[in-house]
Symmetry: C2
Subunit: 116 residues, 2 copies
């Protein structure tokens, strides 16, 4: 069991959770970004069902992500049925990659400390 490093040491690296951005880290928004990163675009009801959210709850998270320019939301029709499509932006991809790198660092740090 090792003691964590003294944070007053100027050379101490920032804790990995410092690199997490709440806009991306919130678990449903992290879900939205990882799912939209897997396809060119996804439909609103698909995301809603996949993440087991209500429509209202999903809409609120999409608004946060759109405001931060991490996703694009497009309304249109498929035949006569209205559809809402969600696509991740390049900014969103970068933000997701940064989040996942920070999470990976956290997992590695924990594993190293546990196995030490």
């Amino acid at each position: 069991m090792t003691m964590p490093r003294d944070p007053s040491d100027a050379a101490a690296p920032a804790h990995p959770t410092q690199a997490l951005d709440d806009t991306v880290h919130q678990r449903h928004r992290l879900g939205i970004l990882t799912i939209t990163a897997e396809a060119e675009r996804v439909e609103f009801t698909y995301l809603r069902d996949m993440l087991k959210l209500t429509g209202g709850n999903l809409s609120r998270h999409l608004a946060v992500l759109e405001e931060a320019r991490l996703i694009d939301v497009t309304k249109g029709y498929e035949g006569r049925r209205p559809r809402t499509w969600i696509a991740i932006t390049p900014v969103g991809r970068n933000a997701l990659d940064a989040e996942l790198r920070a999470l990976e660092a956290l997992v590695l740090r924990h594993r190293r400390s546990r196995d030490a």
Copy 2:
């Protein structure tokens, strides 16, 4: 580029973000749990400095974690100076392990989809 699986398919595995618990996932609380998991106990001011939080903000997150029985908070003295010590509980260790396993699944899924 592969389309994500149809979530109405009963055999579809839950998305990894479904396994995340907001009590543990919130980034500062995740920081508190990973740091306390590295030592027998840590002092309040150490956590505050390491996570760059105000004392009030840290106290609020500690209250959430204590309420969920994920940490124990002990007040005492070191010489004549009052000290607050924080220790992760066995329940907290299990919750942190579950969170980190879910995060690892998310990172792996993302990497596989990106490299596909």
